[in-house]
Symmetry: C2
Subunit: 198 residues, 2 copies
DNA sequence: TAATTCCTTGTACGGTCGTTCTAGTAATAC
DNA sequence: GTATTACTAGAACGACCGTACAAGGAATTA
């Protein structure tokens, strides 16, 4: 009364390949047939492993979030203060090798604003991840209200600059603006902790 | 050898109605049939007036840009300096009555990052409009390099905050962050022009 | 009035979409 | 070996899409 066991690894393989395809081709061509063709399987195989297309999109977004969070978390990591954390995040996000991933990321924003539930939830979680990292980077002795407001501003600014970077590709101009912002952040942090412990 | 003259006003009516529909329903349902149904005409009528669907999208974006630019331009208008201009723009963009329009605006961003030409051009023009307004707001005696970098930062920050506002709807938190940013801007401007002429 | 052009409509075509059905093969448990 | 189940594939269905075609009424000029 038992048959063949489920091969979870097979599903994971297909999922990773699907995420790569989504990052490269965006949502425009994210249909069963093109994806199946690119992955070298039939549409039925994808349906078998992911169920509905909506469900496939959900797991793709989930995995994309894992990647993004891992990248941010690693960048913020053990930075001593907010200014350093912000600079680390910006350095990582402005890396052209990450652009494809962020392009998809902003494409999700576009959809979240018009097809609420599905994408909005994804974004809430991603931003929550960012917020958590950046609030923690400000140390436990910071006023929570100040920490929240500062983290919100940092995320918004980096996101806006990144959006500019992705649409215009003008690295010099955007980098200039980013430096201005980061300098402000570092200038603010200095008087508070003049000789900070290592 | 002449017949009925072209009724340009009719086309303008349909276009405005189409823009309203797009602002309200987004791109998801922006197909000939739903739009035609909402406007109370047949799809063939729309095809007759706009040609291809791509062409209709182009004129819709054009009109959306006109609206956005008019709003920004009016807000910046005769503000004395950059800080005041930025505050005016933020005040206007954070008005919930403008949200639907900005939602569509960001939806265009999402598409521009994956279906380049058509939408990217729209965004370049819109941002160029913003940049021009904000560079002018800094007065003619400002170093162009500084003016560009500052305008870039202001636009990016406002855009990022607006994106946060639209996705989370948390007005208090975002407003807090915006105030922090605007205060920095105003603080910077003060020492340069302590007693400025009215 | 007659001719011409605009405006509008209904219908239909080819294409892609998500999904379902049917069926065959491979791998495990009994 | 046999039964059960996972995996894969191909074909087909209904729905929606953008677009083209044929045709009729309305408005203007000659």
């Amino acid at each position: 009364m038992a048959g063949r066991p489920v091969n979870h690894q097979r599903r994971a393989e297909l999922l990773d390949a699907a995420v790569d395809y989504a990052v490269e081709h965006g949502f425009a061509e994210l249909s069963w047939r093109p994806v199946a063709c690119a992955l070298g399987v039939s549409t039925t195989t994808l349906v078998h492993h992911f169920g509905t297309k909506e469900q496939m999109l959900e797991v793709i977004l989930g995995r994309l979030r894992e990647r993004t969070f891992a990248a941010t978390s690693e960048a913020v990591g053990d930075q001593p203060d907010l200014a350093a954390a912000a600079r680390a995040v910006w350095t990582r996000t402005s890396d052209p090798r990450q652009w494809a991933e962020f392009r998809l990321f902003f494409a999700v924003y576009g959809r979240a604003l018009q097809a609420p539930r599905q994408f909005a939830e994804f974004l809430e979680r991603v931003v929550a991840d960012w917020m958590r990292s950046l609030v923690e980077a400000q140390g436990p002795d910071t006023d929570p209200a100040v920490a929240t407001r500062t983290a919100t501003l940092v995320i918004a600014t980096i996101r806006g600059l990144l959006l500019d970077l992705l649409t215009t590709g003008d690295r010099d101009r955007v980098q200039d603006a980013a430096e201005t912002f980061l300098a402000t952040l570092e200038h603010k942090a200095r008087p508070q902790r003049d000789a900070r412990p290592r």
